[in-house]
């Protein structure tokens, strides 16, 4: 079996045949809310929950609309997110939009003043020592307005951005402010670090945008009513990525355990399945055994435990099944961001649970 095909770290592009719709269709839901002009949207969730894939799905959905042109950008593909400036961001999104509209399927030649064109097609501003964002903002707006003029049927532009969650909090905040200042011209959705959407320090920011959470899918009844669909969703991802010739039936019990152990995080589920396959390969076995999965689960648990700080376990155990609001904010943000503590919506109420792999060894069977 080609376990490498699982590629847990790789988000899917919009329209990718490997894409499996989530039980609650998050990407499509985001698209319809953007279409209705309810944004800007701050997309937040734990690492590995599928934010990037859903952003790509929403973009594909939006582009089905005849009046809307949507583009998604993974900012971290060409910027070091630890060191971005406002000018860099505007250069990145303006330059990308300029490039995308010139591609064969649109073939729009935008007429921009030379100065603005060279700004957007030149080097990254911070690499040139250009820190002022004003000129790049003008160039970005010039692209958007020129596009709307040329693409007569497409009267709206939507930009969906991934990568801001990798910024230090203050830089992400500056970036969001930059986008908010452009919202009259563009529909925005951007992935942000959870620290930007939790807690009283963010009240002002939150009054200007709408949070769109991408949570783990429920895989046990206590995580929500759609737990069976959640498990099926993870199994479908596995099936789709491994290909139709894979003997999925033989792996069904292991997949079930991996799904429960993942806490509903697709990346963790795929990592467990891939690592289980890796251990089977080391032992020269075509089909993995429960021992291989146990080894993969121990590796994951070791990785998660390495992220714990003093008192985390105690706090999480005390908060398990509650709304988690009693956990001091800084600790809560860190635990949620890492996916050590998982949030789910159960009967219209958000509750938190400790990641199942952090519990005692018999926890997984209790969960099942």
């Amino acid at each position: 079996m080609d376990w490498k095909a699982l590629a847990p770290h790789k988000p899917l592009e919009g329209g990718d045949p490997l894409h499996v719709p989530r039980p609650l269709g998050d990407g499509r839901r985001l698209a319809s809310m953007m279409r209705a002009g309810l944004g800007p949207f701050a997309v937040a969730g734990p690492v590995g929950s599928g934010k990037s894939t859903e952003i790509a799905t929403a973009t594909t959905e939006l582009n089905l609309d005849t009046e809307l042109f949507a583009v998604d950008l993974s900012l971290d593909q060409f910027l070091n997110m630890r060191e971005i400036t406002g000018a860099d961001l505007l250069w990145a999104i303006g330059g990308s939009l300029f490039e995308v509209v010139a591609r064969p399927h649109l073939q729009l030649q935008l007429e921009l003043p030379d100065e603005e064109r060279s700004r957007l097609t030149g080097k990254c501003p911070s690499h040139q020592g250009h820190l002022e964002s004003g000129p790049y903002r003008d160039a970005f707006l010039a692209v958007v307005r020129e596009f709307k003029k040329k693409a007569l049927s497409k009267s709206q532009v939507a930009i969906l951005l991934d990568g801001l969650e990798k910024c230090p909090e203050e830089k992400a905040r500056i970036a969001v402010r930059t986008f908010l200042s452009l919202r009259d011209e563009v529909e925005f959705a951007f992935v942000v670090p959870p620290s930007l959407v939790i807690g009283p320090a963010n009240v002002e920011l939150l009054s200007e945008l709408r949070v769109f959470p991408i949570r783990p899918v429920p895989v046990i009844e206590k995580q929500g009513a759609h737990w069976k669909e959640g498990r099926q969703f993870l199994a479908d991802i596995f099936r789709r990525r491994m290909g139709k010739d894979t003997n999925v039936e033989a792996l069904a019990p292991l997949m079930e355990t991996a799904a429960i152990s993942s806490g509903g995080l697709p990346r963790t589920f795929l990592q467990l399945m891939r690592d289980m396959g890796g251990y089977a390969t080391v032992a020269n076995r075509e089909l993995p055994t429960r021992e291989d999965l146990d080894n993969a689960m121990r590796d994951q648990a070791d990785s998660l435990r390495r992220l714990l700080r003093d008192g985390d376990m105690q706090v999480m155990q005390a908060a398990d099944g509650s709304d988690g609001l009693e956990i001091p904010i800084e600790r809560r943000v860190r635990l949620l961001t890492h996916g050590l503590l998982l949030e789910n919506e159960v009967e219209d109420r958000v509750i938190v649970r400790m990641h199942p792999l952090l519990g005692p060894p018999d926890w997984i069977s209790l969960y099942a």
Binding site: H9, G48, R82, K166, V282, Q300, D302, S303, H338, G339
Partner: protein, 177 residues
Amino acid sequence: MRDASGALWKLAHTKTPIGLVIYSDYEQRNELITELELLAPSGIQVLRATTLDEARPHPRALVLLTPPDEGATVLELDGRREQFVDRQVPLLLFLLRGGEGLRVLADAPGLASWLNGSEVEPERLQNIDGAAEIKTFIERTGKSPEAWLAAYEAGEISETFENILLTHRARLLGGTP
């Protein structure tokens, strides 16, 4: 088999773009580098690097990255990890146990999530119950570690990757090299 060599082999052969090797001192780091050079997939170039810029142009090489400033490199890698997403062979980052790199990793959730399950801490995996492991080894191979190594040295054991791992395990279990 969840031992250090098996875990390192799995790490070097898995198509994960980035993996982590946690070492306890520089001597052990050098030993691990040598071991990984032996465990690398056949036909794959092994490259030692100290910066991400050195590693980036080599997506098809097994890169063993030993940065002088581990904390700064973790932060840089977290900010640039999408640039490494299409690697065909992993970049293995070496971080000191209890060092700045691991401390910073706890503040880099995206990178930490990528690394989940792709982290190997050989020293921890080698803290084993010797007697139980020798019994398991004999049950599996039909030979004591010493007898296995003697047969290996005599060329009686074929060079499959599983046998290479078993040979390494036999050495760990006290067989004479």
